[in-house]
Amino acid sequence: MDQSQRAPGGLIFYALVYLLFLYAPILLLPLFAFNDSAVIALPLSGFTLRWFDVLWDTTALHAALYNSLIIAATTSVLSTCLGILAARAAARYPIPGKRGIVGFIMVPLVLPEVIVGISLLVVLIQLGMSLSLWTVIMGHVLVCTPFSVAILGAAFNNMDASLEEASMDLGESALGTFRRIILPLAAPGILASMLVAFTISFDEFIIAFFLTGTDATLPVYIWSQLRFPARLPGMMALGFLMVLMSFALLLTAEYLRRRSSRLISGDEAEGASLFFDAASGMR
């Protein structure tokens, strides 16, 4: 069965239907975002941009957006730093109990977010700390780090160890080798990790819901609005913009990741994706 062999027609049909199932909600989003009706239902009644004007005029939304941007940006930097350290250590050095340690770092990937949220909340309450943007960041860094570790792990693991040895052999110090060889080669992976962490944090609801104080994040704000039918068309417009942003960020991250694997291992690394790296990292 070689690669060029065509798939059975039934399987192709199934794959397309499945894709439709996956994209159904996202495809509906623009329909309702531009629909000139206060009710989210079919049939559609005409084209309008007023729901976007509503977003423009809602100041509470702007505050939430600002909070989310700060949280997502900080989270992306911190989790990528933690990811670099862990991925580099795991790829290059012998560590006693490495499987267990890496496995533990990856646990938030499968732990229900409710558990992460309330357990952190319990600690904060017991310590008497007040909830703020920083408490949300603490939780988000925890759940984003496994993704960073997985993405960067793929980048570091594919790097030929003799590149570093060659640099040392040519007289460069360990620090110089890191600056002149490792960092440039890992740069696309680092950027990809930052973009993915940003996207996850920007979109994350549960942990933010538990750990946010008076400053709502964007998803927390959306959650509060979903109760009011009158606000729903505006939320559709907002969701549409968020989807566009996520698409742009993720496609950039994927482009960077491909460039990185082409640079490091010389091949196109076909058949892999960001999430593939993440999934491989889980195992």
Binding site: D160, S162, L163, E165, A166, S167, M168, D169, L170, G171, E172, S173, G176, R180, I181, P184, L185, L263, I264, G266
Partner: protein
């Protein structure tokens, strides 16, 4: 080549758990020579090379380079440079930037750096390739870049870790000759690690054959081929017929041995060993098929061809010696007018006592 040792390895050992990767190796590598470490995978040759370069640390023993003990000296401070098995060309740098990589720390200035890079690229016949990116290069060109990048540092010793293993046969043969010529031109000591005996014979001034973390024999290519000390070395390098023998006596004129199927012979100059059973080796090309009834040799036996292997330029014949069960391999070049015999044909084989090798003389035979 001089008689001055540039690398002195003294009783170097390395253990992985209880397994010795190197079991106390000592050797001298002379300044300006092309030296090969030859052996099957797992014999310790790469470990030894990595210790010379500083990437591995011996558990015991010492290594000095040009009279300086290298204990505690990291790879970036050693007067050695390495050509890696994968070549380790930095994928994000151009060819010229790769070659200039190590020069950057020397702060030579732009003009001098550029001059040296161009000189090094010319040395490996890559003039004008400085602007290329690594992914645009062929395997052979990558190897040349790796060579230029190491040679531009003007090391006292150039270390080569299986540099030919990534090349196909044709290119490998071409690069072997080229590398040999390059070594003679620059006069730098080359230390090559390889598992390919032909490569070692072709390129080296001296070869150390290693098995199981120890040096089995250290000799010139010719000495290694003609006078292997053990059965293991003899069968690793080229082909060899092994025959059982008894050492009857040893005196100043040589050793008298009774060889299975061949009879008694005097091995001149052999003075080690003691009477008892032993193994005698003789190379297939040292057995000569005698064509025509009048051709003759110092010693002759008759036999019947039981099998042939045709290689184009030569043919290997399996010949069973008459009145015995012993089968020997005979190698004959297929020169002009020489007939190629078939299985079942009868033949006469000539040989001489001077081409016999007494193997493992110090070991009692099994």
């Amino acid at each position: 080549m001089s008689n001055q040792p540039i690398i002195q390895v003294r009783d170097v050992a390395k253990y992985y758990g209880d397994e010795p990767a190197l079991a106390g190796v000592s050797l001298d590598i002379m300044a300006g020579e092309f030296f090969s470490l030859l052996g099957p995978s797992g014999c310790g040759k790469t470990t030894l090379l990595r210790m010379i370069s500083g990437f591995d640390v011996p558990d015991r023993g010492s290594i000095s380079i040009d009279g300086v003990d290298m204990a505690g000296v990291p790879p970036n401070r050693r007067p050695t440079n390495m050509v890696f098995q994968s070549y380790a060309i930095f994928p994000h740098l151009s060819v010229a930037q790769n070659v200039a990589y190590g020069l950057k720390r020397l702060r030579l200035g732009r003009v001098e750096t550029k001059r040296r890079v161009e000189e090094a690229l010319a040395l490996v016949a890559l003039e004008g390739y400085g602007g290329r990116q690594p992914h645009e290069l062929s395997g052979g060109q990558r190897q040349r870049v790796a060579l230029a990048r190491a040679l531009v540092m003007q090391p006292k010793v150039l270390l080569l870790d299986e540099p030919m293993s990534a090349l196909d046969k044709k290119l490998r043969e071409q690069m072997q000759t080229e590398l040999r010529r390059l070594q003679r031109a620059v006069g730098i000591t080359f230390v090559l690690v390889t598992h390919d005996q032909e490569e070692a014979l072709l390129m080296s001034d001296r070869i150390a054959v290693m098995f199981n973390g120890s040096i089995a024999q250290l000799d010139s290519p010719e000495g290694m081929y003609r006078r292997p000390v053990s059965r293991q070395v003899a069968s690793f390098i080229g082909m060899m017929n092994f025959l059982r023998a008894d050492i009857a006596s040893i005196d100043p004129s040589g050793a008298t041995v009774n060889i299975e199927a061949l009879g008694s012979a005097l091995l001149p100059g052999v003075s080690v060993g003691k009477p008892g059973s032993a193994t005698i080796g003789i190379r297939p090309e040292m057995l000569t098929m005698l064509y025509g009834d009048h051709a003759t040799a110092e010693r002759v036996f008759r036999g019947k061809i039981v099998d042939t292997e045709y290689y184009g330029d030569l043919t290997l014949y399996q010949v069973r010696i008459d009145d015995t069960a012993t089968v020997v391999t005979v190698s004959m070049r297929n020169t002009a007018g020489r007939p190629i015999l078939q299985a079942g044909d009868r033949t006469r084989i000539g040989w001489g006592a001077e081409s016999l090798v007494l193997l493992d003389p110090l070991e009692s035979a099994k």
